[in-house]
Amino acid sequence: MKPTIYAKNLHRHYGKTRALDGVDMNIPAGRIVGLIGPNGAGKTTALKAILGLTNFEGELEVLGLDPSKNRDDLMQDVCFIADVAVLPRWARVWQIIDLTEKLHPRFSRKICMKYLSKTKIQQKSKVRALSKGMIVQLHLALVMAIDAKLLVLDEPTLGLDILFRKQFYSNLLNEYFDQQRTILITTHQVEEVEHILTDLIFIKDGKLIVNSSMDEIHDRYSEVMVSPESLEQARSMNPIHERVLFGRHIMLFDQAGREELELIGEIHKPSVADLFVALMGDKEAQEERVEGAA
């Protein structure tokens, strides 16, 4: 079966800045992929390339189509929620539903109404009059009523309170996701998505730093809360990151033997956030922090 997203040596330059610098991706169906990176790392550019909203150099196929040429065909199978502001503010709810129904062959009004009936959104309301959370609920109801193969979410829960955020992801996971679909998420709120991700991509300065499944990540990286007496021994094992928490040194190891690690302290699964800091953070700033704490 063809991959949902296939990219090879993807490049995009804005003047001298390289937003994408040789990106390779191969995402099969049935995955939930987190595309994580600091601001300006190229996340949005990557998403825009996938959605046919920007030009690029290199090879890119989404569901077998070239997004820069076949955006309108591609959008029959791809849905997209950017951060909350993008529903037209002048429109009324029923107008947006009407439009989507007439323009989207895979849209089901029935399903959309089912989701909307669980919210407080009125058909007659203007989008302008809805709260941020309600706009996201409306957009999610529209998208979940479309039988698409790829859903792209760009900071979908930005600026929402925790209740909305939790509900958003639980709806997505329980009612929408299945093995035929792929979800690609970018977000800064890594903690909230990490338990639903099947794959993780870290992007920095237009390059992919990590691109593997969560299982591989948990096999490869281990976090150890080092016992004080083993500190020197642990440091000699070349941890890729070290931080201090309540006087305990916590180190992250890349491909270290489990037996050796058990000797120097307690092993944990590293969280995506810690991994992010370790792999993407500024090296010098880290060292300063550790020295300051020690």
Binding site: T54, Q76, C79, F80, V86, D98, K102
Partner: protein, 319 residues
């Protein structure tokens, strides 16, 4: 184009009306209201001045006794002038509509929603330009028809007052239905006539980083000024050819339901047109205009700008 594309195009054009209800719904209603208000005010003042309405009744009776051709001409003149008000208001509305149509959604980022729908950029741009040259004339023609009927109804009341037959006096000679057909045909042809200007504004809207309306107006004005300076400093005289004159002439011909001899006006010659039937829009004049060289040069320019707008729309995102 199959029925599916047509129905999609139709919902896209309805979308434009939803987005700009003021331009395509309320403005024609307001114009109808204003004309009605002024007509009624004039009649009230007339009734106050004219005691017992003697002169009014007499006037109507005299009108009823005129030759039918003359009555037709007068009624035609009045009713078709009303349509001119609508066409001119529509022109202003459409100019502002087009300046915003490919710009507003880039500014408020809703372009990301529109681009998430399976609609080609060609279809999007087509829906905007068709709204300008087909939908707007239809809506404003509806307004014209409404106010014409209302005024004829008022005339009918007065004719009862004066004791003349309203059907032979007013309705018959006014020939309204045939005028409506003519206005429909003429309005669509005038839309084509204005296509190069409309497409230019659409084009500005498709790429302008801000203030597309200002860019759309300023560029031809600056070119016009430059042309004048150039010919003044190179030949020591002002040029007779100027882009601004060309544009103004095109606007002028595009917004009046008449075949005014524009050369005479722009020459400043004294032989201005007198009120006569050939002055008003007719099938002959509309067909002449449709098959004129100027029309097709304009359409060609329009198509170039539309294609360029589609090119920019393809590349447009929220930033």
């Amino acid at each position: 184009m199959n029925t599916n594309s047509l129905s999609r195009l139709w919902i896209m054009m309805r979308r434009e009306v939803w987005e700009s209800p003021f331009s395509f719904k309320w403005t024609p209603v307001i114009v109808v209201g204003f004309i009605l208000l002024f007509t009624i005010l004039a009649l009230i003042i007339g009734a106050r001045v004219d005691n017992e309405m003697v002169f009014t009744k007499d006037g109507i009776r005299q009108f009823a006794e005129m030759a039918v051709e003359q009555r037709s001409l007068l009624l035609y003149g009045v009713t078709i002038s009303i349509s001119a008000i609508f066409t001119q208001v529509m022109f202003v509305v459409v100019v502002f509509y087009l300046a915003g149509c490919l710009y507003d959604d880039r500014r408020d980022r809703s372009i990301l929603f529109w681009k998430s729908l399976p609609i080609s950029d060609t279809m999007t741009v087509a829906s905007k330009i068709l709204t300008a040259i087909v939908l707007a004339p239809l809506v404003y023609l509806a307004g014209t028809i409404l106010i014409q009927i209302l005024i004829m109804l008022i005339a009918t009341c007065y004719s009862f007052l004066a004791g003349v037959n309203p059907f032979t006096t007013f309705w018959g000679p006014s020939n309204l239905p045939s005028m409506w057909l003519l206005l429909l045909f003429g309005g669509l042809v005038q839309g084509l006539w204005l296509l190069p200007l409309y497409a230019w504004i659409l084009f500005c809207s498709s790429w302008a980083p801000r203030l597309p309306i200002l860019i759309a107006v300023l560029v031809p004005v600056l070119i016009g000024i430059f042309q004048q300076f150039w010919s003044f400093f190179s030949d020591f005289r002002f040029s007779t050819e100027n882009i601004m004159l060309t544009i103004l002439e095109r606007i002028g011909r595009g917004v009046v339901p008449a075949t005014i001899e524009w050369d005479q006006i722009t020459d400043g010659s004294e032989r201005l047109t007198r009120p006569a039937e050939e002055m008003f829009m007719s099938y002959g004049s509309v067909v002449d205009s449709l098959f004129s060289l100027q029309m097709w040069i304009g359409i060609a320019i329009g198509i170039v700008f539309i294609v360029a707008s589609i090119w920019f729309r393809k590349r447009a995102t929220d930033s």
